[in-house]
Amino acid sequence: MTGLLILLVYVAVFAGSFFAVKFLVQSATRDYTSLKTVTFGDESAVVSNRMASILSIITIFLIWGSFTGSKWVPGFLHAPAAFVGETAFNYTLDNGSGETDVGTVFVKVVDFGEDAENFEVEPGDGAAKNDALAMNAGRSKTLIFDKNDNFKRKDGAKVIAIDGDPIRPKLALESSKGRFVLTDKGAISFTPPQGLQMDPIYLPPPEAVVRRFWEISSEGYRNFTLWQHLGYSLFRVIGGFLFGALIGIPLGYAMGLNGWFRGWFDPIVEFMRPVPPLALIPLIIIWFGIGEVGKIILLFLAALWIMAIAARSGVSGVRITKVHAAYSLGASKWQIMRHVIIPNSLPDIFTGARVAMGVCWGTVVAAELVAASQGAGMMIMVASKFTLTDIVLMGIILIGVIGFGIDMIMRWVERKLVPWKGKA
């Protein structure tokens, strides 16, 4: 339910900010694009709205903070919190033959994740004695109210009212104190107001994730520092990718330049390409164990086919006029390879390298989820076993940031090394 509400809030913020920005922020620029009258269907007229990107990121953090009661989000933006504190309610007990008595239940509700310590209360007078109930916010608890009462359920006693309001089995009674339900056996199940904020077990607030980040980056996790965990993952990716490129690129060139190579390797490459590297993990573990060798071989296999296909299409994509021109200028086969075919294939190889790095990064995290003693994937897997959701979130964010960073670096290198890409 909360999830649906969050989605509705998100859609509302999306639409609301769209109209707010549209009517409040007047664009003063009169560049060429702003003067176009046909914009629907003209891809070049669609410019990514910077304001929308900023608001999008702010919205995600605001919603995250507001539904987790973050201290970084002002209180008036918080979603209603779950009830925490002390309360009490009365229950009216009927012994089955018309005799009734009222007992009081004192309830202490402690915050998410704290220990709900049992406590004692004065039993009081009458047949229905007072009870104590300790519980956590956001949970329900069933009270066996008649342990200390003179009227017992097994003798036919039953609760007929809560705080004077009649209650019947299986029909919930909602009051300002919370929700009361009688169980099949007649016990009282009490749920204090749950609010809309998430239990940190499901979604910790942003500051908890940041605190974890500082804690783990200074103290480490599972005998390795954070940088060692991330470094291992990166090392595996780069190692696997380099081996894949080292074998895959020459293989692709050979397939692009020679019919025998193409015929020989086409079935293998075309068969292996659609096999997801993740499907190879069990086999790799059986053959090479869970050490570094197995992981690097897995990533090697993930990168190999992508690089081979990229290099092959780079060679096949050379315009025959360029090759003819080079021959007419007196170039030898080797010179054509070195000065025409290789440079001409670089844009394709870079595209392949970016895809391969992305696939390798995804594969290494998945491989570490299965078996590893260090690495980004291992970190979130172990943390999830202990429901340390903040570490899981921190790990996911770091994996995303690093994956994004790798792609940025690849793009930068691409711009430096193949500036002619897409301009020929």
């Binding site: 315009r319 006029t321 360029k322 003819h324 021109a325 080079a326 021959y327 007419s328 200028l329 007196g330 170039a331 030898s332 010179q335 000065h339 025409v340 440079p343 001409n344 670089l346 193949v418 500036p419 002619w420 301009k423 020929a424």
Partner: protein, 268 residues
């Protein structure tokens, strides 16, 4: 024997469906050193095939090409080629493109730098030496292609519709440049074109080819190329013989195209 000899060239391709195409049949002609010849013809007359055979990219099924007495077996630096477009190397700047031939030939920078600079001056690209190819306009790119071909000092220059992708004004300027370079360098030039006007202006000799099978239909010897060197090409076009020859060739090609259309309709 000096010059370019095209001796009884025939070309026949086998198609996958078992039939075959006679692209060229018994084409023979001889070019003296320094001659400028344009080749014109409707599509499918085999003119590009003929040029590829002369360049050495294709082996003819019959006949042979000889240059200055020896037989042509494959592509070589003695026969330079200028393509319509897309034959420059985007990964090199203008100067490295132009010096490609000498560099591949193992010459030292000291031996070719002056010549490359001189050629870039002639084609008007002295200020664009360091520019990347994709920063140049189409006309500038074709001037680079011309300079690159000349820097290698070939005996014969083969041009496959080198100005086909240019706009009319740029094209006219480039036609003057080709004439100027022809006169200055004294190279043998074979130029393929779709434009009758271009063929008239850039052909001491003009070859009209006919299709199915590709063959020489008629040859002209024209004065316009000589008249056009260093002159305003629009003045040359006012020459009375220019207009009459143009009309004659246009009618000739028109008839051939009509015939092709008719044949296609019959078969379909």
């Amino acid at each position: 024997m000096s010059g370019l000899g095209i001796e009884n060239i025939s070309m026949r391709f086998d198609l996958p469906n078992g039939s075959s195409v006679q692209a060229l049949k018994d084409v023979s002609l001889h070019l003296e050193p320094g001659e400028l010849m344009s080749v014109l013809g409707p599509s499918g007359c085999g003119k590009t095939t003929l040029l590829n055979i002369v360049a050495g990219f294709l082996a003819p099924t019959n006949g042979q090409i000889s240059l200055n007495g020896h037989r042509v077996e494959g592509p070589d630096a003695e026969r330079g080629m200028v393509f319509q477009q897309g034959a420059l190397f985007e990964w090199m700047n203008v100067r490295d493109n132009v010096s490609f031939g000498p560099r591949m030939g193992g010459k030292k920078p000291a031996d070719y730098t002056a010549n490359v600079d001189r050629l870039l001056n002639i084609v008007g690209l002295a200020d664009f030496k360091e520019k990347a190819i994709y920063e140049l306009s189409g006309g500038m790119q074709q001037r680079v292609a011309l300079a690159r071909c000349l820097a290698n000092d070939p005996d014969v220059i083969l041009m496959d519709e080198p100005l086909g992708a240019l706009d009319a004004l740029t094209r006219e300027k480039m036609q003057s440049l080709v004439l100027q370079l022809w006169k200055e360098t004294g190279k043998t030039i074979v130029l393929i074109t779709h434009s009758v006007e271009e063929a008239l202006l850039l052909g001491e000799r003009l070859l009209v080819m006919a299709p199915r099978p590709g063959r020489i239909h008629k040859e002209y010897r024209l004065p316009f190329a000589d008249l056009g060197v260093g002159a305003d090409l629009r003045e040359v076009k006012k020459h009375p013989e220019y207009n009459s020859t143009r009309e004659e060739i246009l009618a000739m090609i028109w008839d051939m195209e009509e015939e092709i259309m008719g044949r296609t309709e019959e078969t379909s």
